[in-house]
Amino acid sequence: MSALLDIAALTIRFGGLVAVNRVDIKIEKGELVGLIGPNGAGKTTCFNMLTGVYEPTSGTICLEGKNINGLAPHQICSKGVARTFQNIRLFKSMTVLENLLVSLHRERGYSLAEALFGLGRFGKREQEMRTKAMEILRMLGLDHRAHLPASSLPYGEQRKVEIARALATSPKLLLLDEPAAGMNPSETAQLAKDIQKIRKDFDITVLLIEHDMSLVMKICERIYVLDYGQLIAQGKPEEIKRDPRVIEAYLGGGLGGEQHA
């Protein structure tokens, strides 16, 4: 059986700048994989190509053996890839529940005419969608916030709503873009538990971009490291921690470790 996600020689150029250069990533079903690297290494650019926001210059992205290159973002979403955003992008003036209902739009299962006249499957399906959204919120401990405007929630909870909203699209692969950004250590610890719980409860595969090494090293089974658009290392967390190229990329090299912070 082919891997859930198979990225081969993925490259994107913006003019003369090669932002991501011949990156290969392979993720099996059920894995929790980290993607790390210094600022500007091309991590989010990879996510944007994976979700169809950017079209790669060359290379292939295969989901369950099928090429998803060049599909529009909403089509990729319907193939089972969902994401969160580094800078929170909630539907601010809509309620938390409505945010999730937008993700459930694809499976509404009623026609426009039924909606306009309030007949047929409309009422039942709307109720089912609400129940499903509430269930996801409950699993993430957000159900008491369901009817508040998304923008009124504290920062950490807004990040969780982002994850909940992505989960509502019923993804096979969940891409988390710096979910711990701006969180304090105790919130981060809680997030680590949440991510592991989500993976188990929803039976999904997770690819995680994160700067918080404590989180990445704790929960990821495998890690890919990007620097200047190149894949410089991959492996288990312990291997990554010791990898000289990774240390160099993060701490700067060439001075034989004598550099002062």
Binding site: H105, Y110, G118
Partner: protein
């Protein structure tokens, strides 16, 4: 003097403006597209309905005025909806100011095309549209106004409505959550155009004579003013805005000076609203309500 002769046409006009404002609110308020070419769709609806009742089915109109009226306004609405589709597909690639400019251009193109089309009277206008259903006409207008508001309301309470709102809130996120943004932008645009055309169909029968100058840029601005005053993205706001903008010139009638500078007054209102209450009347109401609630808590 019979007050009803003054009041009923005024209320008819008010109903048409309510439909116009509610329809622009779908595009600008709910979907977050900035369109100011609404007079164009209004004109297409009016001319198509007029052509329908006068050229296409004069005998039928004489025999079955009520059915003919419904058929004609639906022709107007469908024609405007189709125009919305044709304009929307290329123009909705644009965003923000660029879209606004394109829609202004569209509105003007329609007016100038009508001004030069002999079949609909060109610059002489389109005369002799029969007031179908006679004294029952106001009831039909009211019925269709309530119907339009109801259907827009239902639409916005459905999943499709949430998809439209999500585009206004954050286009990139909407796309990533599986919303076909281009489709729903076009859809919102077509819905807005459709109801503007419906309003136009009634306008043609209401005035019985239409001229391209009835559909100039000022009409688009007036409709925009309605939803700005009322509060973008609120159906109640659109209705309130339509009422204020329609009735204000009537209230100014007692003074010739004031009514001759009513455009200045409209402009001033727009500036003041945008400066102090950008969320419009409904935003003001919500704020008031929220403070009250906070005081009680």
């Amino acid at each position: 003097m019979n007050y009803l002769d003054y009041l009923i046409p005024l209320l008819q006009l008010l109903c048409m403006n309510v439909i116009l404002a509610a329809s622009l609110n779908v595009i600008n308020g709910y979907c977050g597209l900035f369109s100011i070419g609404h007079a164009g769709f209004f004109a297409i609806g009016a001319y198509a309905a007029a052509a329908g009742s006068k050229l296409l089915m004069p005998e039928f109109a004489a025999a079955q005025p009520a059915l003919a009226l419904i058929a004609c306004v639906m022709i107007g609405a469908a024609a405007a909806g189709l125009a919305g589709l044709v304009v929307g597909i290329p123009c909705l690639r644009l965003t923000g100011d660029y879209l606004a400019i394109a829609t202004v251009g569209f509105g003007e193109i329609i007016r100038i095309v009508l001004l030069n089309t002999e079949a609909v009277g060109a610059s002489r206008g389109f005369p002799g549209i029969v007031l179908l259903t006679g004294k029952w006409f106001p009831l039909w207008v009211l019925l269709f106004t309530v119907g339009s508001l109801y259907f827009i309301h239902r639409l916005m309470r459905s999943s499709t409505g949430r998809a439209i709102l999500s585009i206004r809130e954050d286009e990139i996120a909407a796309r990533s959550m599986g919303i076909n943004v281009r489709f729903y932008k076009t859809f919102a645009f077509v819905v807005g155009a459709f109801f503007a055309g419906l309003s136009g169909g009634f306008f043609a029968h209401h005035s019985q004579f239409i001229h391209p100058s009835n559909f100039n840029f000022m009409i688009s601005v007036m409709v925009l003013l309605m939803i700005v005053v009322g509060g973008m993205g609120s159906q109640m706001g659109a209705v309130l805005g339509a009422i204020i903008v329609t009735l204000l010139p009537e209230a100014l009638r007692f003074s010739e000076t004031l009514s001759s500078i009513r455009m200045l007054i409209f402009g001033l209102i727009m500036i003041l609203v945008v400066l102090w209450q950008p969320q419009g009347l409904m935003g003001f109401y919500r704020k008031l309500f929220a403070t009250r609630k906070a005081e009680h808590a």
